[in-house]
């Protein structure tokens, strides 16, 4: 919270203006509004890019001056990393709740008490509406190359289009009008009105290349030609009158393992976060049930609102009328209390040479269980400290890159030996309420989530040794990689990410 000594001049100005209780913007006349009870929920929304420019603003009630964002900029300055900006910031007359997605801050201005998660969840939902979940390379760029996601995903599940492919500043700027229309529909008086993308798409059609071109030429619109005439669909998440020539349903079972491994390679904690993402393109109002071979694996589940909870409780069967298109059917969590096997092991070792400023960093990676399938697309990223000048690497397998600016070391190991994982298996999918036979496909995928391996570097060593020159070492056996760092290497943890994508099967129901 900005206390009096640290307020920037601009913020001070805003506070002063706020005290006069009128919008301080120069071109706005004083508000005739009597100061009734402060309005609830979301008052305004500002979109701010990484360099601190407000590139979009939207107000649902009276206009709040941009200068309120100065408090946000202050917090941004104080934070060392973009992620460190606190999500909730109080200002004298407003509260700012922000989320950071794709290097864009979505800053909501709140005037009074509201559950912060309410706003945060809504802002994330806005971003999710703008783009298909899981399709953003940015999302993954932090710790893993985008390589494995996009190459595998669209192959099995043809995605329905969403508003923009990726939610970037450019995409938003180019589609300002659509964004505005969407925001207008999503929020009424600061309270969410329609957030289901199925309904929104019925109201406002997503821009496509074709339509954009046609629109530009003919001047026609993105808004539905006619408003839906009748009732809003009785199933709030599904639009009415869906028709397909090919009826298809695809399910991706994606499991991510989060683990922390200590320096000796033993697992400190490991948990599984799984999701079933679906792409259902079925005519009419299909009523689906999905059953699992091993539902007991599901420890803690959260559902899309379409899933009938009682049925799950009683029979462990997912029964639902799906939304049209892509959606996340359920996500589940297998907690650290259960034993979660990790497909690979990681060991690393850092040594420094007496009296010289160089060190050696060995990283060993191998499959943990030999049963089963191969581990593919293994990628190790290691954030090296700023003091590292250069790294000379000698991988026994795969390729590596070291970015001397971000000090990020990535080692693309590729495929490792077979092993097997226990995982959720879909038993069968049945459909009721419609006559046709759909095409069904299910894909399993296990990915690394947040893998960390601990590395305890003795601080004493760091005190006495300054490393400078580089010296190549011979590679160690067993997929190991040696790298040499200089200048006080003291990464306390390195990040490890592996991924796996295989075992795709399709089933055509007869």
């Amino acid at each position: 919270m900005p206390c009096s000594n640290f307020v920037s001049p601009a913020a001070r100005k805003e506070r002063f203006l706020d005290r006069r209780s009128q919008p301080p913007s120069s071109f706005l006349p004083p508000s005739p509004r009597p100061s009734a009870s402060p309005a609830k929920m979301i008052h305004s929304l500002f979109l701010i890019n990484a360099s601190g420019d407000i590139f979009l603003e939207k107000h649902w009630k009276s206009v709040v001056s941009r200068s309120v964002c100065d408090y946000f900029f202050e917090a941004q300055e104080r934070a060392t990393e973009p992620e460190n900006v606190p999500p909730v910031i109080p200002t004298p007359h407003h509260y700012l709740i922000s989320v950071l997605r794709h290097r864009i801050y979505f800053v909501a201005v709140i005037q009074s008490e509201v559950p912060p998660l309410f706003v945060i969840e809504f802002l994330h939902r806005v971003v999710d509406t703008f783009q298909v979940r899981g399709h953003s390379p940015l999302l993954f760029s932090l710790f893993m190359s985008a390589s494995f996601m996009p190459t595998h995903l669209p192959a099995s599940s043809p995605r329905l289009q969403d508003y923009f492919g990726v939610c970037t500043e450019a995409a938003i700027k180019d589609n300002v009008v659509v964004v505005y229309e969407l925001l207008e529909e999503m929020l009424d008086n600061g309270f969410p009105l329609a957030t289901e993308s199925n309904i929104l798409k019925e109201l406002i059609k997503p821009p496509t290349i074709l339509r954009t071109m046609v629109n530009t030429i003919t001047g026609s619109t993105n808004v539905g030609e006619q408003l839906p005439t009748g009732q809003l669909s009785v199933v709030p998440w599904r639009r009415t009158g869906v028709k397909y020539t090919n009826n298809e349903a695809y399910f991706d079972v994606v499991e991510e393992i989060d683990a922390i491994i200590d320096k000796s390679g033993s697992t400190i904690t490991a948990e599984i976060q799984g999701v079933i993402d679906a792409c259902v393109k079925l005519t009419g109002m299909p009523d689906l049930t999905l059953s699992f071979m091993n539902p007991r694996l599901l420890d803690d589940v959260s559902f899309h609102p379409c899933v009938r909870f009682k049925r799950w409780e009683a029979e462990r069967i997912l029964s639902f009328i799906p939304p049209d298109g892509n959606f996340r059917l359920l996500s589940y969590h297998v907690s650290s209390q259960n034993l979660v096997a990790i497909p690979v092991y990681v060991k690393h070792n850092i040594t420094f040479r007496e009296g010289s400023s160089q060190g050696r960093f060995d990283l060993t990676l191998g499959p943990k269980q030999t049963m089963g399938k191969a581990v593919e697309s293994v990628l190790v990223s290691s954030q090296l400290p700023r003091g590292v000048l250069n790294a000379n690497l000698n991988p026994s397998q795969g390729t590596y890159t070291f970015d001397p600016v971000t000090k990020l070391l990535s080692w693309d190991v590729g495929k490792i030996n077979p092993q097997k994982l226990p995982r959720l298996k879909v038993n069968r999918l049945d459909m009721y309420g419609e006559k046709y036979k759909p095409f069904k496909g299910i894909k399993y995928m296990t990915k690394a989530g947040k893998f960390q391996s601990l590395d305890v570097v003795e601080p004493e060593i760091l005190l006495t040794q300054k490393l400078r020159c580089l010296n190549p070492y011979a590679p160690s056996p067993d997929h190991s990689q040696s790298l040499h760092v200089c200048r006080g290497f003291r990464s306390e943890r390195s990040t490890f990410v592996s991924s796996r994508c295989n075992d795709v099967w399709f089933e055509t129901h007869s």
């Binding site: 509004r33 402060p38 009630k61 009074s112 492919g165 619109t221 397909y244 009683a314």
Partner: protein, 1101 residues
């Protein structure tokens, strides 16, 4: 319809193009960029005006798009108002929408011109399309022009009774807008809110509660009659509405219900003990129960629980805070898992959830301790996330896990994130003070850190060590010496100051070093930071008082330096100290006390969580997040001392059908008359409770209701159906007789279900919805046929939309819904009907047993298929608690009455008989200290006086947590204390569970492998008959018999009392009097103990 279909076809056709588009997002954005070029190419606003006034729609649209872009950039476009407002009546929908956007933004500034558009909206409010009506109302109410308040008021009132729920929702939003525009309309708006609160549409509920919260949050009386409806609708309300409703209901419940947290020992217990020996003790227990949860309170808890599974994190958090603030203490922990799940969500979500967990974990360590590892810090976490996780780990630390946590902390100290490393050191300090076992370890660890390279780490360590030493200064002069040695190397001012303070404070323990440090400081005094100078002056003063011989000159020198320091604080301090310690004429009396002032023993600083007092704010709120009271924050009131009259929530007339009917609002249901609705609610109530509750209770409740409405054949049948709904109506003793009956009923029900299914053309995947298999298929045909015709006619009567004849109340809700609209039914959970009664029951029909039904509800998460019954029979073994010789005349015996404990369901009831065999009367017999503290013992009330030869029976409740750990406590009289202990046999930690054979088998299948323990036993010859075996088994364990046709198999089922885990016992008789004894349960330890006991019992006899 046709257009959307068209759209879809189009989409199907363009599929390939779309897919291509996926890969080539670059193209799309480049084309967008081209579009951007167009728009950035604009000239001045003049050409916009021309474009708007042109005849071409495309030009107008283009102009509006550019205007919207201007608005989005925060540029002023108000001068175009006259040109824009003309287009408000445009036929082009997108153009119209954009004009709306513009109007809402600028109408306030251009009030006169804005009025031109009003008539258009008024016309649109009458449009046949609901979307046009809704959007007209939205825009009209968003125009903040005071002059149109009456028009808005009228529009809102009209929209509030619109046929479309979507429009009604919009009107609820408009209420808030109008209120913020003109607060004088409050009274009228409250009327509209009152009306909308009665609305049965799930679409409206959230919005109107929002309006309620904003306009008249204090009018809690408006909620009363809608309370039950809101609870029941909750699951189907859209996510955002759920959050608002849950928060409102939390507030409501805190004003309307009695606290479930009361210590229930307050009420008179002697009376209860009296009852216990009575034959009607079950009844007695219920009624004498000190705290009975209001059924409405329970309803709220039960109906919010499924929402923990919501994908919306705000909903999960709302439910979590509701449980935290409303649920009995032992139920709160069901939210743990869901909260931990949220930690995998976005960073911002994590932040808020962790804050709440931090507050919770201070009060309830146990809730999160099993999930401790989920709070381990990752180096990729943002700093504020790390700090919060650290906070939680520190809160969770106890003797058992401290070593693990400290090991984890060791890693954190080495973090590159220095703020985090410093926070870790603080956390270590907190652990050290809280857990005395590790204080020394931590202290040593911190001393090691003093030689760390990083200054912040060192400084923080010094500060923490200082605090730690202050709490226990006795034998730590070594550490002080060590710090004195390091002093030269430490540069951080705060750390230097801390060391100086320590030197001064404990100068008598380090008499040789302290003066030397002062000497060094005298040399560098001028170049030190202010804070160090101040402490140097302090050190000098203290040394002067204790060791003036060595330090007099040094002190004078330092005081002289300080006298001329640039900083006035230091000059002040120096002057003050000089007057205090150096005796002179002026200094007066104070001088005498200098030593007592400066060297007074100081209270140790308390190292405590920053979240310690956060619980003054309601969890999940903005105020809680920021730890300040935000605007508009409403305090959560304390529980009322006495709950207000619960009858206010009774609904006069119940129209259950409407809630489930599609909310088109076209066909108003005829109002059912009163007795009719009574039946209805009984059915609902019974099925609602029966699904989870013990069958003996539900059957007793149904029988009492039956007697009330004997004449009504219809309704009693209904009730029977209810009890078969709950699937088990038989209690263990009368299993055989009621078995066939219930099967018949089930058959009836199955009959009813079938047409329903076929109607919606949704054949279930299971052949039998209940999963019961073909058990009841062979039952009598007469009952079948009668029920057949019965249900058929019901179906008919309800299928044509005519008002249902009064008699056909049975199953009214169910078939009707389907018939109303086929789409509607597919939305609904068929299984929902039993558990979520659609209408609010009338409390006049609540019998006391029903109350207890509801109260017992979700205490255990027993699945609906099985219920726990009270024990039928069983031999009573009495154990000695206290012999009269050791007890100086007081003897005590105990037995396990095998009744559900009346204090808490997780407790084992123990009956203690106290006898006075001495020759004088004993007074004040009560329970003293207990150990271990973890076992929760509910004591009996003090027995004031026990005459010689008399005996009294009292009852205890002990929560053994499913272990056979003995409960040790002291039995005290006025004069003496006797240590006694109760060790339960493993069989007493169970309660019987009634289930059908198929259920048993299916449950057993789930508990194979690790969860199965078995042994072959040689049976004693006396035990071969079925009765004898049962007797033996029941004597050992408090389980229920599962009736079975198979002669060689005997099955028993029970549940553990604390955790409700199933315990299934199977005894398979083999030839030559051997038998295979199998126990299936998750509690493997219990299984092996039980196996041993059973084996023993069956072998001897």
């Amino acid at each position: 319809m046709s257009t959307t279909a068209l759209y879809n076809d189009q989409q199907g056709g363009a599929e390939a193009a779309v897919e291509a588009g996926q890969e080539t997002t670059a193209t799309s954005s480049s084309s967008g960029a081209a579009f951007g070029l167009f728009s950035t190419d604009f000239k001045k606003n003049e050409d916009l005006k021309e474009m708007l006034e042109s005849n071409k729609e495309s030009l107008k649209l283009e102009a509006m798009k550019r205007i919207v872009q201007l608005i989005s950039k925060g540029k002023n476009a108000s001068d175009l108002f006259p040109a824009v407002v003309k287009n408000v009546a445009s036929k082009n929908i997108e153009l119209k929408k954009l004009v709306y956007v513009y109007l809402v933004r600028y109408a306030e500034e251009q009030q006169d011109l804005a009025l031109l558009s009003i008539s258009t909206f008024q016309r649109a409010l009458k449009d046949p399309n609901q979307f046009i009506r809704a959007s007209a109302l939205r825009v009209l109410s968003s125009i903040r022009v005071p002059i149109i308040v009456p028009i808005m008021m009228l529009a809102i009132k009209e929209a509030a009774s619109d046929l479309s729920p979507y429009v009604r929702k919009t009107s609820a939003h408009a209420i808030q807008k109008l209120y913020s525009l003109d607060a004088d309309q409050k009274e009228q708006l409250i009327e509209v809110i009152e009306k909308l609160l009665k609305d049965k549409s799930t679409l409206v509920a959230g919005s109107v509660v929002m309006a309620f919260e904003e306009v008249c949050p204090d009018r809690i009386d408006l909620i009363h009659i809608n309370y039950r409806k809101l609870c029941n609708l909750l699951v189907d309300v859209e996510e955002w509405g759920q959050v608002v409703i849950i928060n409102m209901l939390t507030r409501y419940a805190r004003t309307q219900f009695a606290s479930p947290w009361k210590e229930d020992g307050i009420l008179d217990e002697n009376e209860k003990a009296f009852y216990d020996s009575d034959s009607e003790e079950k009844q007695g227990q219920r009624e004498a129960k000190p705290y009975i949860m209001d059924p409405d309170h329970r309803l709220l808890l039960r109906n919010t629980k499924p929402l923990l599974q919501s994908r919306n994190t705000a909903v999960v958090m709302a439910v979590a805070q509701l449980y935290w603030h409303l649920a009995p203490k032992h139920e709160v922990s069901i939210v743990t898992k869901s909260l931990v799940r949220l930690l995998r969500s976005h960073r911002e979500v994590q932040y808020v959830v962790l804050q709440n967990i931090a507050t919770m974990s201070i009060q309830r360590k146990g809730m999160f301790e099993p999930h401790m590892k989920s709070f381990y810090v990752r180096s990729t976490d943002a700093t504020h996330i790390k700090t919060l996780k650290l906070e939680i780990l520190t809160n969770l630390a106890n003797e058992a896990n401290i070593s693990t946590i400290l090991r984890e902390f060791q890693t954190y100290v080495k973090s590159q994130d220095k703020a985090f490393a410093a926070a870790t050191i603080q956390a270590i300090g907190r652990c050290a003070t809280n857990i005395s076992e590790v204080t020394d370890t931590c202290l040593n660890g911190l001393v090691l850190l003093l030689s760390n390279r990083d200054e912040t780490v060192v400084a923080e360590s010094v500060v923490v060590i200082k605090k730690l030493l202050q709490t226990q200064p006795t034998q730590h002069c070594d550490i002080i010496k060590h710090m004195a040695k390091l002093f030269d190397n430490i540069t951080v001012p705060m750390a230097r100051a801390s060391i100086l303070w320590l030197m001064g404070e404990y100068c008598e323990r380090v008499p040789k070093i302290a003066p030397d440090v002062l000497r060094k400081m005298a040399k560098t005094f001028t170049s030190e930071e202010d804070i160090v100078k101040l402490q140097t002056v302090n050190l000098a003063a203290k040394l002067y008082l204790t060791n003036s011989k060595q330090t007099k000159l040094l002190t004078q020198y330092i005081l002289n330096l300080g006298k001329y320091d640039q900083n006035y604080d230091i000059r002040d301090r120096t002057r003050f100290i000089r007057q205090l310690i150096v005796p002179s004429e002026k200094s007066g009396a104070l001088n005498k006390y200098a030593r007592r002032i400066l060297l007074a023993s100081k209270p140790a600083p308390v190292l405590e969580s920053a979240f310690k007092d956060r619980d003054r704010f309601q969890l999940g709120t903005l105020s809680h997040s920021l730890n300040i009271k935000t605007t508009g924050y409403q305090e959560l009131s304390d529980w009322p001392a006495v709950a207000p009259d619960p009858s206010v929530r009774n609904v006069e007339v119940i129209e259950p059908v409407q809630e489930w009917a599609p909310s088109l609002g076209k066909a108003k249901k005829p109002k059912s008359d009163k007795f009719y609705s009574d039946d209805e609610e009984k059915e609902e109530e019974g099925s609602g409770s029966g699904s989870e509750d013990s069958s003996s209770r539900s059957s007793s409740s149904s029988s009492s209701e039956e007697s009330g409405s004997e004449s009504e054949e219809e309704s009693s049948r209904d009730l029977e159906k209810t009890s078969s709904d709950s699937e088990k109506s038989s209690s263990g003793s009368e299993a055989s007789s009621s078995e066939s009956e219930s099967q018949q009923k089930k058959k009836k029900r199955a009959k009813k279900v079938t047409p329903r299914k076929s109607k919606q053309a949704a054949a279930d995947s299971d052949s039998d919805e209940n999963g019961n298999g073909p058990v009841g298929k062979t039952s009598s045909s007469s009952a079948e046929s009668s029920s057949d015709s019965e249900s058929d006619s019901e179906e008919d009567s309800s299928s044509d939309d005519s008002p249902a004849p009064q008699k056909k109340t049975v199953a009214k809700t169910k078939p009707k819904v389907e018939v109303k609209s086929k789409k509607e039914v597919s939305l609904l959970d068929l299984d929902d009907f039993s558990a979520a009664p659609p209408s609010a029951p009338k409390s006049s029909v609540f019998s006391s047993s029903l109350l207890s039904d509801l109260e017992g509800l979700s205490l255990s998460n027993v699945s609906s298929a099985m219920q726990v019954t009270t024990s039928s029979f069983g031999p009573v073994k009495t154990y000695e608690l206290l012999h009269h010789m050791t007890g100086k005349g007081l003897s005590a015996k105990y037995h396990f009455p095998r009744q559900p404990c009346l204090y808490q369901p997780s407790m084992v009831a123990v009956q203690v008989i106290l006898t006075n065999s001495s020759d004088h009367s004993l007074e004040e017999i009560h329970i003293g200290d207990q150990s271990p503290a973890s076992l929760n013992v509910h004591c009996f009330n003090t027995v004031e006086r026990l005459e010689p030869g008399a005996s009294v029976s009292v009852s205890l409740g002990i929560d053994f947590s499913d272990s056979t750990q003995a409960a040790n406590f002291q039995l005290c009289t006025k004069e003496d204390q006797f240590s006694v202990s109760i060790q339960p046999a493993v069989g007493e930690l169970l309660m019987p569970s009634t289930m059908k054979e198929p259920d048993f088998c299916s449950e057993q299948k789930k508990l194979m492998g690790m969860n199965e323990t078995s042994a072959t036993i040689a049976m004693a010859t006396a035990n071969t008959s079925k009765q004898n075996i049962s007797k033996q088994v029941l004597s050992v364990a408090n389980v229920g018999v599962v009736s079975s046709d198979q002669n060689n198999l005997q099955r028993f089922a029970g549940r553990t009392i604390s955790s409700g885990a199933l315990v299934l016992v199977t005894l398979e008789l083999r030839e030559s009097s051997t038998a295979l004894l199998t126990i299936n349960t998750e509690k493997t330890v219990m299984a092996s103990m039980l196996l041993r006991d059973l084996k023993q019992a069956l072998c001897q006899a």
